[in-house]
């Protein structure tokens, strides 16, 4: 038993952090929000191995590697990377698990290589960035469909989340493997989204601590005030205890506990990240409330992701249903 990341896993996270710091995500986010879904960063992430984490080796991937996936999504959350990344990772699992070899051979190598942007509708019939996707998946009871945008973009509080109503277009696969595959994809998406939330929360905490160290009011840094200290200590505590739930869930991938564990991780990550966002806003004051201040992009994404990939209430229900014996 060794429940900490090994050197290689840490290095993977640091590499992504460096890549994303150099990419300068705030400008990318604003361009993405304005309708310019540039794929340069997408390709770079693929090259760094992010999408291969959900694709099996026989389709040119390296997965499934759920721990590394949490590492990666934590860093992508930390930089608020836009685009249907969780959706594409979940789609890889869906396609692989649905068991249609032709479909897998067509899409999985492209996903791993960063050549396919895939979206899907995990809850309501709405898919993220549907207008920018090469493929949109819609899973029915025993049928898997491709889909297409079916209406105008729905604006989210997170301007980089461009949601579209979608409608089924072409049947891709049928049979009892489809709902199983959809369930597996959902659980993996929930895990990835949880990690993303943790990264978002961590970035907000770091930014706010730095702000509290330097912003002066009443002749001293506001970080000297006990109220600010206690707010930030609470934000840290929430994040510190949500993280092991995400990694613990990653390690239960493939076990019957996986759905319960990803739900627990999502609840804790949503709550911790949302608390960090509220505290970030309160400590920053008005500046954090503005569109043009970069951390506000993080704050808005946290609130949006809190209810994406299942609401906290849905996940609490799944947790208690699973421990009903």
């Amino acid at each position: 038993m060794k429940f900490v990341l090994d050197a290689e896993q840490r290095l993977f996270g640091e590499t992504l952090h460096k890549l994303l710091t150099e990419a300068g995500t705030p400008a990318l986010i604003r361009r993405w929000a304005a309708g310019d879904p540039d794929r340069t960063l997408w390709s770079a992430l693929a090259e760094a191995g992010v999408f291969a984490l959900a694709v099996p080796e026989r389709h040119d991937g390296a997965g499934p590697l759920p721990v590394e996936l949490v590492v990666a999504m934590h860093e992508l959350g930390r930089h608020a990377v836009p685009g249907p990344i969780v959706e594409t990772l979940a789609a890889a699992v869906l396609i692989d698990t649905a068991g249609d070899e032709e479909l897998s051979a067509e899409w999985l190598p492209r996903i791993a290589a960063g050549e396919a942007v895939v979206s899907l509708a995990p809850g309501p019939r709405r898919a993220l960035d549907a207008d920018a996707a090469d493929l949109i998946l819609l899973a029915g009871d025993e049928e898997l469909w491709s889909a297409a945008p079916d209406g105008a973009v729905l604006r989210s509080l997170d301007p980089a989340r461009r949601l579209f109503p979608v409608a089924a277009r072409e049947r891709l696969a049928t049979g009892p493997a489809v709902p199983r595959a959809a369930a597996a994809a959902y659980d993996l998406g929930v895990l990835a989204c949880s990690a993303q939330l943790l990264g978002l929360g961590r970035a907000l905490l770091d930014t706010t601590v730095e702000y509290a160290r330097t912003r002066r009011q009443f002749g001293r840094p506001i970080g000297e005030f006990q109220a600010v200290k206690h707010h930030l200590a609470d934000a840290l505590t929430g994040l510190e205890f949500a993280r092991p739930l995400a990694y613990g869930a990653a390690l239960s991938f493939g076990s019957p506990d996986f759905p319960r564990d990803v739900s627990a991780a999502k609840v804790a990550a949503s709550d911790a990240a949302y608390a960090a966002a509220r505290i970030a806003l309160q400590v920053h004051g008005a500046i954090g409330y503005t569109d043009e201040y970069d951390p506000s992009l993080w704050i808005r994404k946290v609130r949006a992701l809190r209810s994406a990939w299942g609401t906290p209430a849905e996940h609490r229900g799944r947790v208690l249903d699973a421990c009903s014996h």
Binding site: L163, F218, R220, T290, A313
Partner: protein
């Protein structure tokens, strides 16, 4: 002790009837947009024509001399009718009380009627980049010149200034004085020479406030409120109004709570959310009754206004967080509830952060000791004074 409202029922009936006939069937566009701002300005004119824009003001300035109770009743009916947000509220709630307390007769006559009619919309200009919570740290200057003053410096978080006509705020008129001393309260036009207005988007991107850059802006003496150098004391009367009832009347929360209960029922009356919905209802009712208590009192509520500020701002956030949770996965989508949520998030920050309000409550209401040093003990950085 009684809660007998029968004496104001005729007034209530008149307001209700007028609103039923006049409130636009479709909601106006958001007042934080240029188009919406214009539509809301026109609505202020409609209200004024019925003498309903400033019911508590004297008749001479466009009001009806309504009692505080009538004003509360007006607000209840106004929000219950789903009437448009008040684009004039900075002027009506912040500037006007200051003028009534410190303005000259000439100022009252010149400023108030166009404010009541929506012809002149006012923005506040309190905060500066280095003076948010710590308002006394402000540095924008007013320099004495022949017949008036020249303003220089930068203001920020000026609510509504993107589209408003005029602004009011504090300026340092004595460069040698520190902190609360040597400040002057001034009014100035936003289209004056030397004023640059840079709109700032709030969390949802709407330009709800602006930065103001002031470069030798001339202000005549007649636009100074109170004595030069006494701006801090003059402004404090406004601050009291902000934290009391006028900034957020109970009617607003009663109406929003009714909508919340309806939303909850429409979505299946989920028992998981029942207690939160009930608590919002109870808190909104408590705020209403507290309002009746406040206007029944004959003493000055003073620092107790801070108790109100903390309460309504947290109620507003809880109300909208509950609504978004009822909406579930739809909670992130643009709509009235999301706009209300974004608006509510500013509550604990502006008009003095809730951390500062809690210090005020502890020290001035409960009598706990100040920190054993020069400065006051206060909370995180924030703007104050926007509406």
């Amino acid at each position: 002790m009684d809660l007998d409202l029968s004496a104001v029922e005729p007034f209530r009936a008149e307001v209700r009837g007028w609103l039923r006939r006049n409130v636009p069937a479709a909601p106006l566009p958001s007042l934080e947009t240029e188009e919406g701002f214009a539509a809301h300005r026109a609505w202020e004119g409609t209200l004024a024509a019925a003498r309903l824009s400033v019911v508590s003001w004297p008749e001479a300035y466009g009001g009806r001399g309504a009692s505080p109770l009538e004003w509360l009743v007006f607000e209840e009916e106004y929000y219950a009718a789903g009437a448009p947000g008040r684009v004039s509220q900075n002027g009506i709630n912040l500037l006007a009380p200051t003028l009534f307390a410190h303005g000259t007769p000439e100022q009252l006559e010149r400023v108030l009627p166009p404010m009541a009619a929506g012809e002149v919309i006012w923005a506040q200009a309190w905060s500066e980049p280095g003076a948010g919570s710590d308002l006394a740290a402000l540095r924008a200057t007013a320099t004495r010149v022949d017949g008036g003053w020249r303003l220089n410096g930068q203001k920020t978080w000026s609510s509504r200034a993107a589209f408003a006509d005029r602004a009011f705020g504090l300026f340092r008129s004595d460069p040698a004085a520190e902190r609360h001393r040597g400040l002057t309260y001034l009014m100035f036009p936003l289209d004056a020479d030397g004023v640059t207005v840079r709109p700032i988007g709030r969390l949802d991107g709407k330009p709800a406030f602006a930065e103001l850059f002031l470069d030798d802006v001339f202000v005549p003496d007649r636009d100074v409120i109170g004595e030069p150098g006494q701006g801090w004391a003059v402004a404090m009367s406004t601050a009291g109004n902000e934290r009391g009832l006028t900034l957020r009347s109970p009617g607003r929360f009663l109406a929003a709570t009714d909508r919340l209960v309806a939303l909850w029922r429409e979505h299946g009356a989920d028992p998981l959310l029942r207690d939160r919905v009930a608590d919002v209802w109870i808190r909104a009712r408590a705020y209403r009754l507290k309002g009746f208590e406040t206007i029944s009192r004959t003493d000055d509520i003073g620092a107790e206004a801070s108790v109100n500020k903390v309460f309504w701002s947290e109620l507003d956030v809880a109300l909208h967080e509950t609504a978004l949770d009822i909406l579930g996965a739809d909670g992130e989508l643009e709509g009235d509830w999301l706009e209300g949520y974004v608006f509510s998030l500013a509550g604990p920050i502006y008009a003095g952060t809730n951390e500062i309000q809690r210090n005020v409550i502890a020290e001035r209401v409960l009598g706990l000791p100040r920190e054993g040093r020069g400065g006051r003990q206060v909370g995180p950085g924030a703007k104050r004074g926007s509406g």
